[in-house]
């Protein structure tokens, strides 16, 4: 079957302006210092904080679409942010279906957009 995923790599990564982090909050005060780590997103090096959800680090880098669905190839991203809806799953360290909203970011993690259950947009999901 022909691939129906968007093929233009630049476009599929759906990057918008990076989302601002909250460094000082009127009620919660200053955000504690955390260690910066680097990870790759579709091969590109990005920075995030150790231990924060992968999804948060991606958001801070302007990544909105985490995956494209198997049947209709729709983009999906964070929806519930607490690991229930499983819409934010991505391929992390070569494992598909990892819930990025509750999986802590680690140094050197390999994060990839998930197409169906595959890392390749041209591989038709079964």
């Amino acid at each position: 079957m022909d691939c129906e995923y968007p093929l233009d790599r630049e476009k599929q990564e759906s990057e918008v302006d990076p989302m601002e982090r909250i460094e000082n909050h009127p009620i919660l005060g200053e955000t504690p210092e955390r260690r910066k780590v680097t990870f790759t997103y579709n091969g590109k090096q990005l920075e995030g904080y150790e231990g924060e959800p992968i999804a948060t680090a991606l958001k801070a880098n302007g990544v909105m679409a985490h995956r494209y669905t198997a049947k209709t190839h729709e983009p999906r991203g964070v929806f519930c942010a607490i690991g229930r809806c499983t819409d934010c799953v991505m391929i992390v360290n070569d494992m598909p279906n990892v819930r990025t909203c509750i999986t802590p970011l680690e140094e050197g993690m390999k994060v990839q957009t998930q197409y169906g259950v595959s890392a390749e947009p041209d591989k038709e999901a079964m």
Partner: protein, 532 residues
Amino acid sequence: MKIERYDMIVIGAGPAGLSAAIEAAKKGIKPIVFDENEKPGGQLFKQIHKFFGSKEHKAKVRGFKIGEELLAEAREYGVEVVLNATVVGLYPEKEITVKIGNEIKHYKGDAVLVATGASENMVNFKGWTLPGVIGAGAAQTMMNLHHIKPGKRVLMLGSGNVGLVVSFQLLQAGCEVVALADAAPRVGGYGVHAAKVARCGVPFYLSHTIVEAEGEDCVTGVVIGQVGPDWKVIPGTEKHFDVDTICLAVGLSPMSQLLKQAGCEMSDTKGGYVPVCQEDGATSVSGIFAAGDVSGIEEASSAMIEGRMSGATISCYLGYITEEEKQARIKELEAQLDTLRQGMFAPKNRGKLVEKTEEGIAVSMSLLENGYVADTEIERYPGVTKQEGIHPVIECTQNIPCNPCQDACPKGCICIGKNITSLPVVSKEHKCIGCGMCVASCSGQAIFLVQENVEPGFGEVTMPYEFLPLPKVGEKGIALGRDGKEVCEAEVTKVRTAPVFDHTNLLTIKVPNDRIMKARFYRGENGQQSAK
């Protein structure tokens, strides 16, 4: 395979679960509490607003602080709290399997309390699956736990307490809330919550729903439209907003799957799919109990009391207290629960339009339809008086169970009386000293201090202010009305912060005398307040 045994197993370390464990531990039981989250406290940990109620309901304490207090109390009484522990199943013989780390553990309890809370409801519309459409809980998680803005420009759907509270939190986090919409014709949550959002300039669109989320790969805009009596959008009423985030706050459903799996008798109610339960939390399966939102959606304050009731019941079930002791305790707790279930938002009034307060005063229709009390309506409430000199103006217009303002005033200016839902009355006999304790103590941020003629032609308004950066004395800006619209120019004359205010700063602005009953918010010259 090992099965560990406990007298009492609690599933869920939220307000209900922790309260139950504490209550039981006080009676000599050593309960174990499992929670799938990294932090205990359930939803309390995302709640950064001050709670309503009275002292025993932990009124005026912020939600996350209540969570911390509960956890500390639980630890003090020897409750074992296991976090990052996902309960996989609830089986016959009151056995549970729990995922802890990279393994599964088996436990059996002589009593099992399910206090798993609730999950968010969803609505669907064209484009609802686009990245950028999120649940209100997700927004709270992002900003309050993970320190990131959910979006720059947000549309909120839902005017219940969750929608209102989260809208305010979004503003506090520095996001722009472009509109708050709800298909219902009237604001569903507390008027005071609505008012503090409205005076920041957020327009309310009642009887409006989302027509479409726009965007190719993520949300870039939203269209809302007015709904007719058939709940369908009236053609031609569509409005477009540029947004990057659409936040859904359309109610909660009990997360009762474990109880169903265990074979408890279930019932489909308006409040969701819940176990058939007695008031003390006993389900149809002996030894399995339920408390908190899982047995019917209410506020966290009620969940805490329900938890204590279950704790007492389980203590009796396991023989740690007598039936009489249990009854006495339940009676005491029932009375507390009863006070929380009074007023306009009492379960019995759900879905009804209450047109008059208990005092017989007409409820503000503008508040219900626009989110703020109209200038012409405000003077009918007993907390709003005209006095010489500084005095509080309490814009508390609905009967909700809450009374911290009464205790806050050292001079006795504020009276609610025995009935906790009564509207606060400002006395003309007592002398206000302008300490501002009432302003900071009001969970609804509905109390202002006003004073005419601090200098010729000008008066002052002191308001609660929970935004950053804090304006500086001498700074000039714009005073906004209850409706969030510009009222006049204003100058900051005083900024008070104190630990006792618990992050509710007191901001005093100077405005012309004839504006002191209109100016209710302040916007600095460089625009919107925000977290940095």
